[in-house]
Symmetry: C2
Subunit: 263 residues, 2 copies
């Protein structure tokens, strides 16, 4: 790290111009399809900086295009290198992805931990990269030695070997989760409605209970309170919208009419 | 959930006999390759229960075998159904994976949250499943309606569409992280050595500093303490093993000999 200036942007940024993401480096990838799937997985996670070291089929590679599903910004920005050393020359922090435990004394982190480390490092102007080995046999010991840390995905110990694009994806995924504040959780209410208010719910409950009373549903009077609570709680749990309450008023009316016709 | 008996195991367990994992259900998968890659991703995460609804190329499908990379336990246990309703009949909690926001009032969770929910649910004997739509267009609204919750992966909003096996993998990955205690982190020390103790380090430091003194490295006497601290701190950060200290004693000796030969 001697002589590193964290405030300096790398001289060779990706085509996207966005340097504030880690660089992913595929070493000797064998198939264009895997490069394309990796590019797609990267862009899914907002990553655009892809480097290749000695791609076996050369570059550009038409077989990468369809599997990338339109991740042109990644494919168009690909940089190709002859050696791993050249591919990581402008980086200050490099991870080597490998599933295997090696006889190598090097810190090991999970994708979660790597993302937790890379996010502030990059935010401060640092340049990070992640090395991925060839599909058939992973990283060589020499390439692993070039890295600061080993990045290992906790997986089924009996079946840990990941497809290349899956390895790319899981590291991108953890990066994206740590660096982006997208809130998908919770109940989405469509724009043309809103959560029902309690008056609307009470009206619906009373409508239902009146009809049930008329139909003789509460013929055991002492059980009425417990049945009313049970029915109301089902609808309370459903956290209905105003639109849904109106739909259910119609449902109750319709069922009650059948009942009246039968009766 | 009426009539649900959480203590009951499903009548129709997978070939693996391991019911304590979620069931993954691929609806109308188009290509055997994707089924194979999904099976591999599942087994990477310790998941074995795969169901297919109307696979377009039928089942079994030879195109699934190679991409599964030996996940035979998953492929051999595949169950095929004519309808989504039949495929989820024995489940009590079902998630629908979709990247799209829909005009549907349904709770939405992330893979992390789904894993946090499924783990205790399954631990208590419940049966969960996750629905995945066809490659080209995802789940239909009708299939999504059959689910309790929407499962959405937070991804690049400009490029959110995941490859089928990637969607399978990320949900399996989060499940595995929440339910397995595999500790890969930290520095792995090979069995044939151990961390160096402080006496060994001190001896190495003194050896180095003696040779540097002999070579005139500390000719500005008042700077010696700061230079000694700087050099020692580099080696302290490296947290060396006993084997590595011995290697470095050899390195120092070798360099000092060159120096003597030159001098």
């Amino acid at each position: 790290m001697a002589g590193t200036d964290r405030s300096r942007r790398p001289a060779k940024a990706s085509a996207s111009g966005d340097a504030a993401v880690p660089v992913f480096i595929l070493i000797e990838p064998q198939l264009g399809e895997n490069i394309g799937m990796s590019a797609r997985a990267m862009l899914n996670c907002g990553l655009t900086r892809l480097r290749l070291v000695r791609p076996r089929q050369g570059w550009p590679n038409e077989h990468a295009v369809a599997p990338s599903s339109g991740a042109d910004v990644v494919l168009d920005g690909v940089e190709v290198f002859e050696t791993t050393e050249e591919a990581i020359a402008d980086l200050e922090l490099v991870y080597a992805t490998t599933a295997r435990t090696r006889d190598m004394v090097k810190p090991c982190v999970t994708p979660f931990e790597a993302a937790e480390e890379m996010a502030p490092f990059i935010a401060e102007g640092g340049n990070c990269g992640v090395l991925f080995g060839r599909e058939s046999r992973g990283l060589t010991n020499d390439d692993t030695t070039l890295a600061d840390k080993i990045l290992s995905v906790p997986l089924n110990p009996a079946f840990p070997s990941l497809n290349l694009a899956q390895a790319v994806f899981v590291i991108g995924y953890e990066w994206f989760q740590r660096t982006t504040d997208i809130n998908l959780s919770g109940v989405h209410i469509p724009k043309d409605t809103r959560p029902a208010n309690k008056q609307e719910l009470t009206n619906m409950f009373e409508h239902l209970e009146d009809e049930l009373e008329a139909g003789g549903f509460f013929h055991v009077t002492e059980k009425k309170p417990i049945m009313v609570r049970s029915i109301r709680n089902v609808f309370q749990r459903a956290t209905m919208t105003e639109q849904e309450v109106r739909t259910f008023r119609g449902v109750i009316k319709s069922l009650a009419n059948i009942h009246r016709k039968k009766g």
